[in-house]
C-alpha cells in the first residue's frame, strides 16, 4: 500500500514521516512516534483518553485520520511538563488527588489545557462542560474539576 507523507510539528518538534493511509492519529503518536502517554480506551471517540491538541483544539486522536496531521501543530501529554499551564495542571492534579488509576488522566489534562488556553476565566460549570467528553471510572470527577479550577486560579494569579 502507498504510504502518505506527513510533515507536522508535535510538541514543538518538526517531523517528516511516512504513514499508512489507514492510520489514525493515535496510531502515529503511539506506534510510530512511541509517545504512549496518549491512551486508547474505546477507539470510538467516547472516552476521551486519547485526547490531544490539534491546532489549538482538543480532539479525540482515535477519531482523526493521520492525514489531518499534515501541516498541523500538535500537543500531547508529553509536552505538558514544559508548558506553564500544562505544568500547573499536572501539579494541581497531584495536589487535589485528581488521579487514581491514571489511565484517563492525560486525556483530562489535555482537554483542560485546550479549554483554559481558550478561556482562562472558565467558570466551574464551563470547566465541567469542557471535560464532559472525558470519562473517568475511578474518581467521580469532583477532584478532577477541583484540580482544573485550581490550576486556572494559579494561572490567573501569575
Amino acid at each position: 500500500m502507498r504510504k502518505i507523507n506527513l510533515t507536522f510539528t508535535l510538541n514543538g518538534k518538526p517531523y517528516d514521516i511516512e504513514a499508512n493511509p489507514g492510520a489514525r492519529m493515535i496510531d502515529v503518536i503511539r506506534d510510530d512516534l512511541g509517545l504512549t502517554g496518549t491512551k486508547e480506551g474505546c477507539s470510538v471517540g467516547e472516552c476521551g483518553a486519547c485526547t490531544v491538541i490539534l491546532n489549538g483544539d482538543a480532539v479525540a486522536s482515535c477519531m482523526v485520520l493521520a492525514g489531518s496531521m499534515q501541516g498541523a501543530d500538535i500537543l500531547t501529554i508529553e509536552a505538558m511538563s514544559e508548558l506553564k499551564l500544562g505544568n500547573l495542571l499536572q501539579e494541581s492534579f497531584v495536589e487535589e488527588d485528581a488521579v487514581q488509576c491514571g489511565f484517563c488522566t492525560p486525556g483530562f489534562i489535555m482537554s483542560a489545557y485546550a479549554l483554559l488556553k481558550k478561556n482562562p476565566d472558565a467558570t466551574r460549570q464551563e470547566i465541567r462542560e469542557g471535560v464532559a467528553g472525558n470519562l473517568c471510572r475511578c474518581t467521580g470527577y469532583i477532584q478532577i474539576v477541583n484540580a482544573i479550577e485550581n490550576a486556572a486560579h494559579h494561572m490567573r494569579e501569575e
Binding site: 470510538v44 467516547e46 492534579f93 497531584v94 488509576c101 462542560e129 471510572r137 467521580g140
Partner: protein, 776 residues
C-alpha cells in the same frame, strides 16, 4: 494511639508518573521482536467444538503461529476456586466470549487480518440464556452441577414463619438488577516475555491477582512456579475485573511465547474486553419482610438467583456475600436468606466492587421503604429503630461486641448533611399535587461490609510482605497486593513507616513482583488494609527484633524494651537515630529483613445452618441521595449524594475521599444508565462499547457530592483500618432508587435496574396516568 504517618493525607506515590503520561500501562510496553496477538471468538454461545481450522491463517503474511486449546501442554482448565474455565476452548464453547484460537504475528494488523480466516466446526447446543431456563434445562453446562446450580448459600436464624405471624405488616416484593461492566478505562493488555535461559516467563500488564495467575500458568503451561514471574504494570482500573480474563490472556500469550521464544503482547479492544470479560451478577430477588406496628423488624426472607454465566468463577463466594450481608445492618431475630447461583450461556460473572451486595441492598432498602410507608414511618425513623448498635447480634448471628457499631451515627450524619428529614416531609407533601411534573425525592441506605473473604475462606485468608532495611537505613517493602488506582500502595507505605517507626521518606514500595514479593493472595474482597496491615505489623516486629539483636550485641543483652518511633530508637537512656541502629545492625553482620505474615483468625460459622460469624470484622456505611424526576420525560437528575463511612481508621483521608466520590458515581451508573444488555436467545451482548454502555459523565455526577468519614479504629485490625473501596459503592444504587421511588410517590415502584428514560416514564405513566395531565 499516637501516630506519625497513618491518618495523614500524603500524596499518592504514583501520581507524578501518571500526570506526565510516563506511567507504563500494559499496552504501552514496547520491546524488540514483539509479537502481537489476536483472539478468535466462538460463533456460538453453546456448542460442541468439533474442530478449529487455522491453516489459512497460518499462511498469512507476518503470521508466526496460531494456537488452539489443543496446544495447551498441561491442564486445560483454570479457575480461582472452581476449575472450569477454558483459557482456550477445546471441546466445547460455553459463551460468545470463549476464545477458540489465538493468532500471533509481527504486527497487530497482520494478526487481525489472519484471525478473520480461522474457522471452526461446531455442533450447536441449546443456548441457556437465563437462570430460569438453565435451571429447567436437561442440558448441563458443567456436568458437576445438577440443574446448572453452581452455588447455594444460606443464612438462617430464628423462625421466619413465626416472625411473620407475629408481624402486623408484611410486604412481598421482587427486584432485579442488570449486567454491569467494570468499565475500567484501560482495556486488558498483557505481555509475556520468555527467558532465553530457561522456560521462564515474565508477565507484565494489567492484572489484579498475579498470584492466582501464577498458579494457573503453572498448571496449564507446565512451568514451575519459580520460573513464572508476574510484574503487573500500572493498572488502569480494575474494580474486581482484571482477574480471570487477564489470567486467561496470560496463558494464551504464554503459550505463544513458549512456542516462539519471542515476547508476545495481547491487548483487547474495548469491544473484545466487553465481549470476553466477566461482569457484575444480575440478580433477581424475592423479598418478604415483616414488622410489628411499632416499626420493629420481625422477620425477613430473601430468595435470590444470580446469573453466573458460563463459568463458576466467583459465583459461589458472591452468593456467600449476598446471603450473609444482604440482610443489611439490621437487628433481626428471624431471617432466612438463600442465594442461588446458576450457570448459563451468558458472560460469566464474578468479582466486582461490592461483590453481590449492592444488588441485595437495592432490593432490601426499597422493600424496607415500602414497609416503613405502610407503618406510616419515614425511612429514617424506621432505620433508627432497627439499626444495629454495640453488642447487638447481626442478622447472621454475629455478636458485635468487639468494635464500635457506628451505623446509626453514620445515618444521622448522612441524613443531616442531606437535610433528609425535612426534605422527606416537604417533598412528600409537594408530590401529592398531580400537576407537579418535576418531582423531588430523597433516599437513604445503609450497609455493613464484611472485611476480607470471610468464613467462606476460613483458614485460607493470608497475606505476606517482605520488608528489608538497606545499609543506608532506607526501607524497601515488597507487597503482592496490586495498586489498581485506589491508592493502596501509598497507604501500605504509610503503614510500613508507622510500623517501622521511621519517617515515611525512608520507605519505598517496590513494584509488585511475584519473584520478590511473597505470595499474598489477591487484592480483592476489601482485604487490602486489614491483610496488608496485619502482615506489615508482623514484618516490622521481626525486623525490629533483628535490629534489637544488633543493639544487644553492642549495648549488652539487658538493654530492656526498645521503642522504634518517629525515626528514633529509644532504650535504656539511649536515644539513637534509626540510621545509627541500622548501621549497628549491619556492623554486627545481621540482616534486617523479614517476611511478615498475617492470616485472618478463623471465625465460628456453620455453613450448613448458615449461622454464626460470617466475617472477622465489618465496615459500616450510609449513603443518601436526592433526586429530581421529570415525570413527562422519565429523566432522573441526581442532585446530591452523601457517602458517610466508618472504615475503622482512614490511613490516608484524602485517598478515602477519592474512593467515596468514585464509589458514589459508580453506584449512580448502576442505578440509572449502565446495562450491558443481552439477547437471551443467542447469548450476545447488546452494548460492547461506551457508545451504548453509558457511564455517568462529569455532567451527570452531582458536583455537590459529599464524603464524610467517621473513624473508630478497629481493634481487630493492625493499624485500625478496614476497607472503603467496596463500601463506597455498596448502598448508593439503593439510595438513589429509594429517592426516585419517593419522587414517583410509591416506594418500591421501580424495581428493576437500570431505570433509564423508558422505565421511569412507564412507571410515571402507570402511577400518574397518561391523560390526566391538566395543561395549565
Amino acid at each position: 494511639m499516637k501516630t506519625y504517618t497513618i491518618g495523614k493525607s500524603i500524596g499518592r506515590i504514583d501520581a507524578h508518573a501518571k500526570v506526565t503520561g510516563r506511567a507504563e500501562f500494559g499496552a504501552d510496553i514496547r520491546l524488540p521482536d514483539l509479537l502481537y496477538l489476536k483472539g478468535v471468538y466462538s460463533q456460538y454461545a453453546h456448542a460442541k467444538l468439533l474442530a478449529v481450522h487455522t491453516q489459512q491463517a497460518e499462511n498469512m503474511p507476518g503470521v508466526v503461529c496460531v494456537v488452539t486449546g489443543q496446544d495447551i501442554p498441561g491442564e486445560r482448565m483454570i479457575g480461582e476456586l472452581f476449575i472450569d474455565q477454558y483459557p482456550l476452548a477445546y471441546d466445547k464453547v460455553r459463551y460468545l466470549g470463549d476464545v477458540i484460537a489465538v493468532v500471533a504475528a509481527d504486527t497487530q494488523e497482520q494478526a487481525d487480518a489472519a484471525a478473520k480466516l480461522v474457522t471452526a466446526d461446531y455442533e450447536p447446543l441449546p443456548v441457556l440464556g437465563s437462570p430460569r431456563v438453565a435451571m429447567e434445562s436437561e442440558y448441563l453446562i458443567n456436568e458437576e452441577y445438577p440443574g446448572n446450580i453452581c452455588g447455594e448459600v444460606h443464612m438462617r436464624k430464628g423462625d421466619v414463619e413465626k416472625g411473620f405471624s407475629e408481624s402486623d405488616v408484611v410486604v412481598k416484593t421482587n427486584f432485579r438488577s442488570a449486567y454491569i461492566e467494570h468499565a475500567y478505562l484501560e482495556p486488558e493488555s498483557v505481555t509475556v516475555i520468555p527467558s532465553p535461559m530457561r522456560p521462564e516467563l515474565t508477565i507484565l500488564g494489567s492484572m489484579q491477582a498475579p498470584y492466582n495467575a501464577r498458579i494457573s500458568l503453572h498448571r496449564t503451561l507446565n512451568v514451575p512456579m519459580s520460573q513464572i514471574i508476574l510484574r503487573p504494570s500500572t493498572v488502569g482500573g480494575s474494580f474486581g475485573g482484571k482477574i480471570e480474563t487477564a489470567e486467561a490472556m496470560s496463558i494464551r500469550a504464554g503459550l505463544i511465547a513458549l512456542k516462539t521464544g519471542r515476547p508476545a503482547q495481547y491487548t483487547l479492544t474495548r469491544e473484545e474486553s466487553m465481549r470476553e470479560s466477566y461482569k457484575r451478577h444480575p440478580i433477581e430477588f424475592e423479598m418478604e419482610i415483616g414488622a410489628t406496628k411499632d416499626g420493629t423488624l420481625k422477620s425477613m426472607r430473601i430468595y435470590s438467583i444470580s446469573d453466573g454465566g458460563a463459568y463458576t468463577n466467583m459465583s459461589p463466594p458472591v452468593a456467600y456475600k449476598t446471603a450473609t450481608l444482604g440482610a443489611g445492618p439490621y437487628r433481626l431475630d428471624n431471617v432466612d436468606v438463600t442465594a442461588t447461583a446458576v450457570l448459563t450461556n451468558n458472560n460469566h460473572t464474578g468479582s466486582m466492587r461490592g461483590f453481590g451486595v449492592p444488588q441485595a441492598l437495592f432490593a432490601l432498602e426499597n422493600t424496607l421503604d415500602q414497609l416503613a410507608e405502610k407503618l406510616d414511618m419515614s425511612p429514617t425513623e424506621f432505620k433508627r429503630k432497627n439499626l444495629l448498635k454495640n453488642n447487638d447480634t447481626s442478622p447472621a448471628g454475629h455478636v458485635l461486641d468487639f468494635h464500635e457499631v457506628s451505623v446509626l451515627s453514620l445515618l444521622e450524619k448522612a441524613a443531616a448533611e442531606l437535610d433528609f428529614d425535612r426534605k422527606f416531609t416537604q417533598y412528600k407533601q409537594e408530590n401529592k399535587d398531580p400537576n407537579r411534573r418535576i418531582r423531588r425525592g430523597v433516599g437513604i441506605a445503609v450497609s455493613m461490609r464484611g472485611v476480607s473473604i470471610g468464613a467462606d475462606g476460613n483458614g485460607h485468608d493470608v497475606s505476606r510482605i517482605l520488608i528489608e532495611v538497606m545499609q543506608d537505613a532506607s526501607v524497601h517493602a515488597n507487597l503482592g497486593l496490586v495498586e489498581l488506582g485506589q491508592g493502596l500502595r501509598t497507604c501500605q507505605m504509610q503503614m510500613v513507616a508507622e510500623g517501622m517507626g521511621v519517617n515515611v521518606d525512608r520507605v519505598t514500595m517496590g513494584a509488585t513482583d511475584t519473584s520478590r514479593s511473597p505470595v499474598t493472595g489477591a487484592c480483592i474482597a476489601s482485604r487490602g488494609t486489614l491483610l496488608g496491615g496485619g502482615a506489615t505489623l508482623d514484618a516490622c516486629k521481626r525486623v525490629h527484633a533483628i535490629l534489637v539483636e544488633g543493639l544487644q550485641k553492642t549495648y549488652g543483652e539487658d538493654i530492656g524494651p526498645v521503642v522504634f518511633e518517629n525515626d528514633r530508637v529509644l532504650f535504656d537512656d539511649h536515644d539513637l537515630s534509626f540510621v545509627e541502629v541500622v548501621k549497628n545492625c549491619y556492623g554486627a553482620n545481621l540482616t534486617p529483613m523479614a517476611v511478615g505474615t498475617y492470616s485472618v483468625p478463623i471465625t465460628n460459622w456453620d455453613p450448613k445452618k448458615g449461622f454464626g460469624e460470617p466475617f472477622y470484622t465489618y465496615s459500616y456505611s450510609c449513603q443518601a441521595a436526592e433526586v429530581e424526576v421529570d415525570l413527562d420525560v422519565g429523566s432522573v437528575d441526581v442532585i446530591k449524594m452523601v457517602g458517610c463511612h466508618d472504615m475503622g481508621r482512614a490511613i490516608n483521608p484524602v485517598l478515602v475521599h477519592g474512593q467515596i466520590y468514585g464509589g458514589l458515581a459508580m453506584a449512580q451508573g448502576m442505578a440509572l444508565s449502565e446495562d450491558v444488555g443481552h439477547d437471551s436467545k443467542t447469548g450476545a451482548l447488546k452494548n460492547l462499547n461506551f457508545s451504548g454502555y453509558l457511564l455517568p459523565t462529569v455532567l451527570d455526577v452531582p458536583d455537590t457530592n459529599v464524603p464524610i468519614l467517621e473513624e473508630h479504629p478497629d481493634p481487630r485490625s493492625a493499624f485500625g483500618g478496614r476497607s472503603i473501596g467496596e463500601p463506597s459503592t455498596e448502598p448508593g444504587a439503593a439510595a438513589i432508587t429509594c429517592a426516585v421511588n419517593m419522587a414517583l410517590g410509591k416506594p418500591g415502584m421501580i424495581h428493576e435496574l437500570p431505570y433509564d428514560l423508558d422505565r421511569v416514564f412507564a412507571a410515571a405513566q402507570e402511577l400518574w396516568g397518561e391523560d390526566d395531565v391538566e395543561i395549565s
